[in-house]
């Protein structure tokens, strides 16, 4: 029987449906993996944003992946018990976001999500913070659009929340 660590390792193959460089584990969307007595596995997920339309795809990908590794029974649950915050993205996850050309959300460390934080972003190309928030709504619910005054280019950021 596999260990929880083994299962989390397998789940590294399940990536965000729209950002192929980050796994759901590193995104912080997979909150818990539990081995059941009958050899089944239960996975608890939480959405980045409450209206995220990709949750069904994520559940399906988790189930397919674990079944391919021989897990006979996989159950998934979407729960807000531990609501997602951008601080749940791991260091490896942040690296994955940058590889996809996305700025990473600043760390909140339990602090308040105030306007200064919403407007702050580091350019993923030149790393300057000489940037400004153009609109808090981007191509998906979890992305905002900023402008880099040094590159003179628009870039997207994974939103802090």
């Amino acid at each position: 029987m596999p260990t929880e660590a083994q299962i989390l390792d397998w789940l590294q193959a399940v990536t965000d449906p729209e950002i192929p460089t980050i796994s759901l584990v590193d995104l912080g969307v997979i909150r818990e993996v539990r081995l059941e007595d009958d050899g089944g596995v239960h996975v608890r997920l939480t959405p980045t944003f409450a209206g995220c339309p990709a949750m069904d795809y994520m559940r399906r990908d988790v189930e397919t992946t674990l079944k391919a590794h021989g897990i006979p029974r996989v159950t998934t649950e979407i729960s807000l018990r531990e609501p997602w915050t951008s601080d749940m993205v791991t260091d490896r996850g942040r690296e994955g976001l940058r590889r996809h050309g996305l700025a990473t959300p600043p760390k909140l460390n339990g602090g308040l999500l105030d306007l200064d934080i919403l407007e702050y972003a580091e350019c993923p190309r030149c790393h300057t913070t000489n940037t400004e928030l153009r609109t808090p709504f981007g191509a998906t619910l979890c992305r905002a659009v900023h402008y880099c005054h040094d590159c003179r280019q628009i870039f997207e950021q994974f939103k802090p929340i």
Partner: protein
């Protein structure tokens, strides 16, 4: 009605109906960013309504889709502000500003609700609503300090919309119990916080906030009395669902 159900229906219906109205800007926004912003807020609000209808379902009410798509106007508890047609951009913007300031304060307070499942949902939703308020403030400040035409139109929209916005805080018979059981701080306290919050932003513009005590709130929505605009909205929203309610999407 049971106080928890009463409160949840009001919260969920507001989100669903304004979410649907916001989605009507899809393809029509004055600039691309605004088209995307209103569409994104629509998606957020539909997501929030789903979370709240799910709480109702856990308390024995019908499935979220059934509740959202099979009721008629008199069974809805949204305030009339949310159901008004999108009109011109100035109206939609002012409605968004007035509604989402109340909504952010409401869900910040609900994060401490004595009903733990609601508190959990509120802790999630309140962070997302900060982006809605940020967006509204940015545009109210921008247009409220822009050209004479912009300021005149924004002021007119503000004066037209405020009586409807005061209807957000209409109470029901369950209000005393909602407050005493710790479910929610209550509409009166929420309105006090809201007035402070919108006044702070409007003070940074050339817009004037009228004396709210001289206005007559437009009420009725919380008791199923709606404008003639709600039923056509519901018919359109549920058109596909009603073709085949058992279809698997």
């Amino acid at each position: 009605m049971d106080p928890t159900l009463d409160l949840l229906y009001r919260l969920a219906d507001d989100q669903l109906i304004l979410g649907h109205r916001n989605s009507e800007w899809n393809g029509l926004g004055p600039i691309l960013e605004e088209d995307i912003a209103f569409s994104s807020m629509a998606q957020d609000k539909l997501g929030h309504s789903l979370q709240l209808y799910t709480l109702l379902h856990e308390l024995g009410e019908a499935e979220p889709d059934t509740v959202a798509f099979t009721r008629n106007a008199p069974q809805f508890h949204c305030c009339q502000l949310t159901e008004l047609p999108i009109g011109e951009y100035d109206f939609s913007l002012i409605r968004h500003f007035l509604f989402d300031h109340a909504e952010l304060l409401r869900f910040e307070a609900l994060a401490d609700s004595s009903y733990e499942p609601l508190a959990l949902v509120a802790r999630k939703i309140k962070g997302e609503l900060k982006y809605h308020v940020l967006h509204a403030n940015t545009w109210v400040k921008r247009l409220g300090t822009a050209t004479e035409e912009a300021i005149t139109r924004m002021q007119a929209a503000l004066e037209f919309t405020l009586p409807y916005a005061l209807g957000i805080f209409e109470t029901t018979a369950a209000e005393p119990e909602i407050i005493s059981s710790g479910l929610f701080i209550g509409e009166e306290e929420l309105q006090r916080r809201w007035e402070e919050s919108i006044a702070k932003v409007l003070a940074q513009t050339a817009l004037t906030l009228p004396d709210l005590r001289l206005l007559t709130p437009v009420t009725g929505g919380r008791h199923g009395q709606h404008t003639e605009h709600l039923q056509p909205l519901l018919d359109e929203m549920a058109e596909v669902f009603r073709l085949d309610p058992t279809a698997d999407w």
